[in-house]
């Protein structure tokens, strides 16, 4: 039981996808200018990442491994994820305009979030079982959303700061991400209890 907890907490903090594993940076930098959009992106990513880890596990274990087709992992994972994302997007766009506003417009961006492919691949590399994979996926998603939201709040504040001219915009955001990563290094070593 505590083992599962460690995987989850570890994925959120110690091995944070963005700041430690360095995955999913493009949306992290791109969709963090406003707190509101960060919430939306966080929710969308959480959904997709969880689905992606689940479906990838199933594909890997029931199609690829039995037939010795591991080399098709990248291909099959990503195409499936892309299709699922697109399907979800269409369904949301049609069925719920509010959900479309909060979630839908972010969905298309997610296919190019490398965390979505990276996390399932890490799962495979770590040999996680289904539950572990899901937990790691969910933990990564929460870790992503969490730092995205915190980052957005900081960026909203920095917006008002007297940042030197050439550093305004993405440069200072990058430095901020660096200092956030520095802060997250504080969790290093906590996962040795795993």
């Amino acid at each position: 039981m505590s083992h599962y907890l460690f995987i989850l907490v570890g994925a959120v903090l110690v091995n944070n996808v963005v700041l430690v594993k360095i995955l999913g940076l493009c949306p992290f930098m791109g969709v963090s200018k406003k707190l509101e959009t960060a919430y939306g992106m966080g929710a969308a990513t959480t959904f997709v990442l969880t689905v992606a880890t689940g479906s990838s596990y199933i594909i890997d274990h029931f199609l690829l491994i039995p037939f010795g087709l591991e080399y098709l992992r990248t291909l099959s994972f990503i195409v499936t994820i892309a299709a699922i994302v697109q399907l979800t997007e269409m369904v949301i766009a049609k069925t719920s305009p509010t959900l479309q506003q909060t979630l839908g417009i972010y969905l298309p961006l997610i296919t190019t979030n490398c965390a979505v492919l990276g996390v399932p691949l890490i799962n495979v590399a770590s040999g996680y079982n289904f539950v572990e994979s899901l937990l790691f996926g969910a933990g990564s998603a929460v870790g992503f959303s969490g730092v995205l939201i915190l980052f957005a709040a900081i960026r909203e504040r920095i917006e008002g700061a007297d940042v030197p001219r050439y550093f305004r915009g993405s440069a200072i955001a990058m430095v901020t991400a660096g200092l956030m990563a520095l802060a997250f290094m504080g969790f290093a070593g906590l996962d040795k209890y795993q």
Binding site: V20, I22, T111, L121, Y166, G169, L182, M185
Partner: protein
């Protein structure tokens, strides 16, 4: 393709629309594997191959692909190409393959590839698309190389560490004195972020300076024609 087109594409890829410094795309591999020049350059090469091929493929096939499954098909093409590159690295440069790890397969989701495919190849003829892919990749390459060099130098005082994985006969250069304590932060994620931030600021500075100079110089006839065209 005219010479002008070519130079626009080249300028865009190398500087103006530089994936890392201007578009802020493809950041993960950029930051993750730029711990030294060699890793960075090799990953950039892999990306260039994928990007060029993907752009050709999409540009050639663009008229066959229905809008609804555009994204899955693009991704399919990219993923297939990436896997091929992955296999090649595994076969030929196994050590490097181990070091680069999941960042080779992740070229698939590397936003630059898809963004370029979407933004350029899907609208342009194959030759232009190929050139675009190559120059976008070259833009990534030099950024990666510079970032890698800075991190390596700062972190361990060397350059080209790991070169023996590609050319077994060569060995890394110790640039700073051997007792340089090593500002490890440079090799760690925070250092990568901060240094990239500085590079972006540097680009802003260069651009601002160029703009300043352009303003001071009386506009050339071509420039006037250009703006007129842009206005039209």
């Amino acid at each position: 393709m005219t010479r002008d087109e070519f130079s626009t594409i080249a300028y865009n890829g190398l500087w103006k629309q530089n994936t890392a410094l201007a578009q802020l795309l493809g950041l993960c591999p950029l930051l993750a594997v730029s711990t030294n020049i060699v890793n960075g350059v090799m990953l950039a090469l892999a990306t260039i191959i994928v990007m060029a091929l993907a752009n050709v493929a999409v540009a050639m096939l663009r008229n066959l692909i229905p809008h609804e499954i555009r994204i899955p098909v693009f991704i399919l093409i990219v993923a297939a190409l990436v896997t091929v590159v992955d296999l090649l690295f595994n076969a030929q440069l196994h050590e490097l393959y181990v070091v680069l790890g999941i960042f080779i397969p992740l070229i698939v989701t590397n936003c630059i590839v898809l963004a370029r495919v979407e933004a350029f190849a899907a609208k342009n003829p194959p030759l232009n698309s190929t050139v675009d892919g190559i120059f976008m990749g070259l833009g990534l390459l030099w950024t990666l190389a510079v970032l890698g060099a800075m991190r390596e130098l700062l972190g361990s005082g060397t350059l080209f560490s790991g070169i023996d994985m590609v050319f077994p006969s060569l060995s890394p250069i110790q640039v700073l004195p051997a007792d340089y304590p090593g500002f490890l932060l440079g090799l760690l994620p925070p250092g990568a972020f901060i240094l990239l931030g500085c590079m972006i600021a540097w680009k802003n500075w260069m651009d601002a300076r160029a703009a300043e100079r352009a303003k001071r110089r009386p506009p050339t006839p071509e420039a006037i024609a250009d703006t007129a065209e842009a206005g039209a």
